[in-house]
């Protein structure tokens, strides 16, 4: 396959615009359902109404729905490796920035200067993964939510959490309670049970690619049950949209597991804000 043409760059630029201005259908549906659950006139209802109106306006205008256009992470099918190269993706990011779809949002961590086109070594983040289809998926995650991601190491005496699924449940619920509304609730959790520290975060974030109604990989019944339990229990914490109280603290919980070495047992929680921007594009 040929390396990317200008046509590919243009399509990827549109992918970035769509992702930044339009929530995925499943997330918007979940926000609408949440609004029905909240009492009329409550802070929760007012916040959810504001969020939904904001999303409708951003979609209509094709402008960013949140000013923090976040970290851009592309998941590219391995078959597209030679065509959708990191350079092609960078061209699209630079073009999208020029068109105002992205804020100047990329800072050198050593000298503090801004990469005004949002491109640098490691930005955007690109993963080549087996997807079984020639697709590119973009996830945009804001800094406020990223700051709320957490990693636990079991056993954790302060939580009374041991090395079993009961302990895992305690860690995840603790993460939700500690986050309060600060990650821009209602949020979505991506969780990895096990793995090493680095793959824990990687796999936890990958779970954020899953539509909210999608079951765990291989139909794992234990994980499916844990996802349901945590979602129900977290929504009884009463944190609510933007932390002002209410019945909707989370929109979804997505969990995967990875093997671990006997000495380690990590539970990694990636927090995604309500502005869960993810979008897929197919390349034939």
């Amino acid at each position: 396959m040929q390396s990317g043409t200008d046509n590919d760059v243009e399509r990827l630029t549109e992918l970035i615009r769509d992702a930044s201005s339009s929530l995925p259908d499943d997330v918007e549906r979940a926000l609408n359902e949440a609004l029905l659950r909240e009492e009329d006139g409550s802070s929760a209802a007012v916040v959810l109404r504001t969020i939904l109106d904001n999303c409708a306006l951003a979609r209509r205008q094709g402008t960013p729905l949140c000013q923090d256009t976040g970290t851009l992470t592309f998941f590219v099918d391995t078959d597209l490796r030679r065509r959708i190269t990191p350079e092609v993706l960078k061209s699209a990011v630079a073009r999208a920035t020029e068109r105002g779809c992205l804020r100047k949002n990329c800072i050198d961590s050593v000298d503090g200067r801004s990469y005004d086109d949002n491109c640098a070594e490691g930005a955007p983040v690109v993963h080549y993964v087996e997807r079984g289809e020639p697709t590119v998926t973009l996830v945009m995650k804001g800094g406020g939510s990223e700051n709320m991601s957490r990693q636990y190491s079991l056993p954790d005496a302060s939580l009374g959490a041991g090395r079993d699924l009961k302990g895992v449940r305690r860690c995840i619920l603790d993460a939700v309670q500690k986050t309060q509304g600060y990650g821009c609730a209602p949020g979505i959790l991506g969780v990895c049970i096990g793995g090493d520290r680095a793959t824990g975060f990687e796999v936890a974030k990958e779970q954020l690619l899953r539509p909210l109604d999608e079951q765990p990989a291989d139909g794992d019944a234990a994980l499916a049950k844990l996802e349901r339990t945590i979602l129900e229990e977290a929504n009884t914490l009463g944190i609510g949209p933007m932390g002002l109280g209410g019945r909707t603290t989370l929109l979804g919980v997505k969990i995967a597991s990875r093997p671990r070495v006997p000495a380690s047992f990590f539970v990694t929680v990636a927090y995604m804000c309500w502005a869960c921007r993810r979008r897929e594009c197919r390349f034939q």
């Binding site: 802070s43 969020i51 999303c55 960013p64 729905l65 949140c66 939580l159 309060q180 002002l244």
Partner: protein
């Protein structure tokens, strides 16, 4: 929805209760980290905040055809201004502090003493908050603080928020933190 119009009357502000939804119309001034530091360093602020509103916001503003246009104007996290806000409230006579995530008990006490409230704007709702800014009436400290931290004077119409800290010592953030901790304890006991 309670309609608030500049100038914000002390009686009306004191009547607000935590949880009230509000819609703000009139001028609001942005000020964030550099603005607060500047004030704390003993500099005179040349903007009249009496019965006014301070918005913790780092907007994206561009000049188009000689006019300032607001592209995004969502709230920034307020907690960084905790060390400065009680003194600012006392000195400036500001009535509405608008931001995200709430502020500490010292700020809550200053609000009770001087008749001010904290309004939570919806984090991330950038398109809507930009649309509610009808005109940029001016800007101060643009050279000194840069565009994202300058003191912009926005004329807003129907800017939405929720009173999260009132002038009666109530903070929804403190209440939710404590009730959710209690509920977590119950869930852990189950």
């Amino acid at each position: 929805m309670v309609e608030l119009r500049y100038p914000f009357d002390e009686g009306q502000v004191r009547a607000l209760k935590a949880g009230d939804a509000v819609s703000i119309t009139g001028v609001i001034h942005t000020g964030r980290d550099k603005f607060h530091k500047f004030f704390a360093d003993g500099n005179r602020i040349d903007v009249d905040f009496r019965d006014g509103a301070l918005y913790h916001c780092g907007p994206v503003v561009v000049k188009e055809g000689g006019e300032w246009r607001v592209k995004a104007a969502g709230p920034t996290t307020s907690v960084r201004e905790n060390p400065y806000e009680p003194a600012f409230i006392a000195a400036s006579g500001v009535r509405l502090v608008i931001g995200k995530g709430g502020m500490d008990s010292a700020t809550l006490a200053a609000m009770e003493r001087h008749g001010a409230v904290y309004i939570q704007a919806v984090g991330g709702a950038a398109a809507l908050s930009a649309a509610s800014v009808k005109r940029v009436a001016g800007v101060d400290y643009l050279e000194e603080f840069g565009a994202a931290e300058a003191c912009w004077h926005f004329e807003v119409e129907g800017f939405r928020g929720v009173v999260a800290m009132d002038s009666h010592g109530r903070s929804l953030f403190a209440e939710v933190a404590s009730s959710s901790a209690a509920r977590l304890g119950e869930l852990f006991g189950a």
